[in-house]
Amino acid sequence: MHLILKGIVEAFHLLLSGDPFIYSIAWRSLQVSVPSILIALAIGVPVASLIAQRRFRGRRLVIALINTGMAWPPVVVGLLVALFLWRSGALGFLDWIYTLKGMIVAQVLIATPLVTGLTLAALQQLDPSFRLQILAMGATRRRLFFLLLREIRVPILAAAMAGFGRVIAEVGAATIVGGNIAGQTQVLTTAIVQYTNAGDFAGAIALGVILLLLAFATNFIVTTIQQRSVVATWA
């Protein structure tokens, strides 16, 4: 108990004193997570829109794969990405193993099924006649896409935040692909593991508090927006 209390006190000292090393790790986490979620949105939203609007052979299989992908174990994703990015791997020429770029690739693979699946669910909940109404107004397919996105902007934001929460809290893939190199690829989660193993509870708790604050801020934003907006289609 004494150990924990001591750790907490030291952690807040580190946080309040603006320890540059601690904050550089937090900043690196954001450098990986934010681009990852933006790329996941750029892929997932159009893919979900295509799946929602088109009927094609194997559509159910694709949806089942996306739903499965929402629960992919990050450590397995990390392993697969590492195999590809390894110097002798198919994408070894990129030289992305143990880099932030490599970590972003892994995080994109983790977040994209989540964003796609949640966006698809939101699109499928829209009344099909809503789409017909927009088409009946003379919209092109492109305008239809953007107008439908505007209708589901809150669920998309929720999907983005859920994806962000998943990747920023993820440790397995970050460790395997990034290598947890201090000052280079060490992020909040991997650093917490290392600090804990080394008995540096103050550092681990300080990083844990930052992680918790980020998770709380994310959820607070989503909840606030969800309470203020209602996706209604005159059901």
């Binding site: 006649s129 809503f130 109404q133 009946a136 107004m137 005159w234």
Partner: protein, 367 residues
């Protein structure tokens, strides 16, 4: 005005999961007419409407102003020249004004022009004061008025209405129906109006197409369809409550006479002879306490009956009568019922004009 229909479908088939939802040989709408598609729920009316606006995958030929609609580009041009109002208003996540402007902007109208026309359309529907409101706070009637304003703002060549009143309460519905009827008449807009409500159809239609199970059973003026149902299914839906089974024979005195299976008979009109159902609308049956003197009334059928039951039907009274072994019904006002002092068990004369006996050739077993 040209004779070419503004919208025409030939051999139109919409299929889903291997079965035909809509299968019609020909459907045509002339410019300037209000063409009602009437029929029960699940008849394929809305599917037909969507197919006519290029919103539903279909086979067959669709012509707009005589020109075939084939490609996606043709369909988009068709949709930009027309407008659809669905049963639900489906407003976009923006202001009321933004919704009406969106309808115009998507049709390529410039920003300033769109604003001017959107405000004029909102004014036309009496909802200009809602311009800055968002959809969330609107009532169902207000939202539907906005949806209609959005459709009319683009001056559509054809206005498709898919049961626009169905989700509204009766007072809201009456107000909107009156306004819509006035606007359509003033602007001579061509309208395809889908409804399952025969009174709405009677009120607005120039022509009526009756659809059931995806097929057209009858097409004609509203009076033709409502007063002369072509099949027993149409008659049944339109609420002809009394069915007499029998056949029509030539009558040297009366022209035609319907002879019921039990031998009772009614003078009727028309050239058909053969097995038939005779349909008598309750509102076409007048009641009298005594038999009128010969020649004093124009009714060719004067039937001795007995009152079996008196039931309220809206503001009217439905009087069930026993005419030999045949049932008969009369719809009278409360004042008439009071004047005749109608009671169950009392004898009354039912008076029916020969032209009010609608003969439907018997094509199916007695329902």
């Amino acid at each position: 005005m040209s004779d070419t229909p503004i919208i025409e479908a030939r051999g139109l088939v919409v299929a889903r999961d291997g079965s035909d939802i809509v299968h019609i040989d020909r459907f045509a709408v002339q410019e300037g007419e209000v063409h009602v598609v009437l029929g029960p729920n699940g008849a394929g009316k809305s599917t037909l409407l969507r197919a006519l606006d290029g919103l539903e995958p279909m086979s067959g030929t669709l012509l707009y102003g005589g020109r075939p609609v084939r490609s996606e580009r043709d369909r988009r041009q068709l949709r930009r020249a027309t407008a659809v109002v669905f049963q639900k208003p489906y407003l976009l996540a923006t202001t009321v004004l933004g919704n009406v402007e969106s309808g115009l902007r998507l049709r390529g109208v410039g920003r300033d022009e769109a604003r001017r026309r959107a405000l004029a359309a909102l004014d036309l529907l009496g909802v200009d004061q809602l311009a800055d409101r968002r959809r969330k706070g609107l009532s169902g009637g207000e939202a539907q008025r906005v949806s209609i304003a959005r459709a009319l703002a683009g001056d559509p060549e054809v206005l498709f209405l898919d049961e626009p009143m169905a989700a509204l309460d009766p007072p809201t519905r009456r107000g909107l129906l009156a306004d819509l009827e006035r606007i359509v008449a003033e602007r001579a807009i061509t309208v395809v109006w889908v409804t399952h409500d025969k009174e709405e159809a009677l009120q607005v239609a120039d022509r009526v197409t009756f659809l059931a199970k995806g097929r057209i059973l009858q097409e004609g003026t509203a009076a033709e369809v409502l007063n002369r149902p072509a099949t027993d299914e149409v008659a049944d839906y339109l609420g002809v409550d009394v069915w007499l089974s029998g056949s029509v024979v030539d009558d040297p005195d009366a022209g035609s006479r319907f002879v019921a299976d039990d031998g009772s008979s009614l003078a009727c009109a028309g050239a058909y002879t053969g097995p038939a159902f005779a349909c008598v609308h309750p509102e076409d049956v007048a009641l009298s306490l005594s038999e009128p003197a010969p020649g004093s009334v124009s009714d060719r059928n004067v039937l001795p009956t007995t009152v079996v039951a008196i039931r309220p039907k809206g503001r009217l009274r439905l009087v069930e009568l026993d005419w030999g072994s045949q049932p008969l019904q009369a719809l009278v006002t409360q004042a008439a019922a009071d004047h005749l002092a109608l009671e169950v068990g009392m004898p009354v004369c039912a008076l029916i004009k020969a032209v009010a006996v609608h003969i439907v050739p018997r094509a199916a077993p007695t329902p």
